[in-house]
């Protein structure tokens, strides 16, 4: 029977694509499984992970179960060991056409953003890119609007029976938010920005209880039109801004002694709790720190528990990348610096004097 994405009543269950690299589960998988659990409960559906990889990848199924998956569909095949657009698209679409999930979530990594659009186009369904918030039931959605929008929720009539997945994403550097739905086709697909969804705690009982279904890949050599010649990990360790709970960023204010400014930021980040150092564009452009440190519209979007901006004026592009941090502390010599508009605590002063005092006071706690 031919697959028809418009017969939406035939589709059920929440699915998550579980990306692996080198046989290891990615952090985004855990975020997606945790979020998927919430959505599955709202919908009264099962949460199923789809795990593709080389020999032995099935052993990771229990780890995913521990974060809330009811079942993991495992496809082990040496041709799936390393990501390949054609092979992954074929295998995933075959399984989706057979089992018909209502929702399919993919992490918005460089791989997820290669795979997601290809799968959506083949299935003839909608895909919302780089989502930062997901709901199915209307109640949590209106609660979300109450908190995250200027909409006067109590004076707007909503169809509370709507069960389309509501996929919210920022547009234009966070100036606007848009909630997207895919009402006529299934599965409803979203790629989800890494680092924004909360991870659930690991549960050993759930890990043991997870159901594992093995499916064989149906692949011909002619299905795969690209050849991966090598996969190279950069030997230099990249800074993990996305996963960090504490980020201390430096801006042009360190220019009189960049080395010392960065050293102070590192020390403060350590004092605040295993933090990492971020940077404004001025700093990466000047070559004082490498581009992987850059926070902002062209850099990374971060939401740490604590964000400290040292000597950063706060251009709109920088603010777009950090304004959703839970606690923002800004130190700048210019009291009119725009960074103070988004700061919870503002300190006017020279970072070279203020930061050592901060480190000292924190160490006394």
């Amino acid at each position: 029977m031919a697959f028809d994405s418009s017969k939406i009543e035939e589709f059920s269950d929440i699915w998550v694509f579980c990306e692996q690299r080198d046989g290891a589960i990615m952090g985004t998988d855990i975020e997606l499984i945790s979020e998927g659990r919430k959505l599955a409960d709202e919908r009264g559906a099962r949460l199923i992970g789809l795990l593709l990889g080389g020999k032995g990848i099935g052993e990771k199924a229990h780890e995913l179960g521990g974060y809330g998956a009811d079942k993991i569909i495992v496809v082990e095949d040496e041709r799936l060991e390393v990501y390949n657009t054609d092979a992954y698209t074929k295998v995933i679409c075959d399984i989706i056409m057979d089992k018909k999930p209502e929702v399919f979530l993919v992490g918005a990594s460089n791989i997820g953003r290669d795979l997601g659009p290809r799968v959506a186009a083949r299935l003839h369904t909608g895909l919302c890119a780089d989502c930062t918030h997901l709901d199915i039931a209307m109640e949590p959605y209106t609660d979300f609007l109450r908190e995250a929008s200027t909409i006067d929720v109590d004076h707007v009539t909503f169809d509370m029976s709507d069960t389309n997945m509501k996929m919210t994403r920022p547009a234009f550097g966070g100036h606007l938010m848009a909630t997207i739905i895919c009402p006529r086709f299934r599965p409803c697909m979203a790629t989800v920005r890494p680092g924004v969804l909360k991870k659930a705690p690991f549960d050993e009982t759930k890990a043991k209880a997870v159901e594992v279904e093995r499916v064989a890949a149906v692949l011909n050599d002619s299905d795969i039109r690209t050849k991966v010649l090598e996969v190279v990990k950069e030997s230099r360790k990249m800074v993990d801004l996305i996963g960090a709970e504490v980020i201390v960023s430096v801006g042009n204010g360190i220019s009189k002694d960049p080395k010392k400014g960065i050293a102070l930021a590192e020390e403060l980040a350590k004092a605040l709790g295993n933090g990492v150092v971020g940077a404004s564009r001025a700093v990466t452009d000047a070559g004082w720190l490498t581009a992987d440190h850059q926070v902002g519209q062209t850099g990374k979007t971060v939401r740490p528990k604590i964000y400290v901006a040292l000597g950063i004026s706060g251009a709109i592009q920088h603010k777009a990348g950090m304004q959703d941090s839970e606690m923002i502390i800004a130190v700048n010599t210019n009291e009119d610096a725009p960074i103070f508009e988004v700061a919870d605590y503002g300190l006017v002063g020279d970072l070279f004097e203020i930061v050592p005092l901060m480190i000292e006071d924190i160490s006394k706690l």
């Binding site: 959506a120 780089d130 966070g174 938010m177 739905i181 010649l229 006071d361």
Partner: protein, 266 residues
């Protein structure tokens, strides 16, 4: 061989971003630019032309003013330009957009040795979806996030960026490549390029010109053919201004640290 380049004219979001009262982008009041990643795609195609003398065709979907951007690409060295434009195409999401552009490219004819270049993503939507979806609809292999491209005959060797490194991928033509800014430094328009850009072939493909293409089906293009719809758009609340601490450096820091500790943040 031909190198097609898909380009998009976008509002310059690095400058002032203007938003209408109803929450949509006030495009009219903003300057437009060629999408930065797309310029890298244009340069990649022009490099190929330098190396092997291929024909470079820039293709855009958009309203008539996108002509100015296409003329700039011609002034950089592209050989001809095609604008896919029509009311029937308006309101398309990424699925419908790729359907239309794929229909336009099929209409132009993709040969055995041809390459389609796209930018990785546009700065107004940031979806990175249209490139891969065009490839799927044309049943072509794709390589995204290209940061280095070498072509030898029908084989391309591409360095594809990952968050923690890269992959080297080999692919045969015809294929679609999406390019990141880091791929190259786009060349400037030349004086003679500017002088002659209005003499180069420029073609508009509207709905009537494309309606016999199998991909151009009213149920899969435009607002009606788009699988996704906007449920609601809204502006986030302005974050309340925080507290400016006062006093000497010691006093400010002491108040800060005391408050953070009280709130169990540290």
């Amino acid at each position: 061989m031909k190198a097609f380049v898909c380009v998009k004219q976008v509002p310059d979001t690095s400058g002032k971003v203007a938003v209408n009262d109803n929450g949509t982008l006030d495009r009219a009041s903003m300057a437009t630019i060629t999408n930065p990643d797309d310029l890298a795609a244009v340069e990649a195609a022009l490099k190929l032309k330098d190396e092997c003398g291929c024909e470079v065709i820039v293709v855009s979907m958009g309203p008539p003013p996108a002509e100015s951007m296409l003329r700039e690409c011609l002034a950089m060295g592209a050989d001809s330009a095609v604008l896919i434009s029509g009311r029937e195409f308006g309101g398309s999401d990424t699925f419908a957009t790729s359907q239309i552009i794929a229909g336009g490219l099929s209409n132009l004819g993709i040969g055995e040795e041809d390459v389609i270049f796209c930018g990785r993503q546009a700065i107004d939507g940031d979806t990175a979806q249209v490139g891969p979806q065009i490839a799927e609809k044309l049943n072509l292999p794709q390589v995204t996030y290209a940061a280095e491209i070498h072509k030898q005959g029908k084989t391309l060797k591409v360095r594809r960026l990952l968050e923690d490194g890269y992959m080297t991928i080999e692919v045969q033509t015809p294929c679609l490549i999406t390019c990141v800014k880091e791929l190259n430094q786009p060349r400037y328009m030349t004086v003679s390029g500017i002088l002659h850009c209005y003499e180069k072939p420029y073609q508009v493909l509207d709905y009537d010109a494309l309606k016999d293409e199998p991909l151009i089906d009213p149920s899969t293009i435009g607002l009606k053919g788009s699988p996704t719809n906007i449920f609601r758009s809204f502006t986030p609340p302005q974050k309340g201004a925080g507290r400016m601490l006062t006093g000497s450096g010691e006093q400010m820091v002491s108040e800060l640290v005391t408050n953070l500790a009280k709130k169990h943040i540290i």
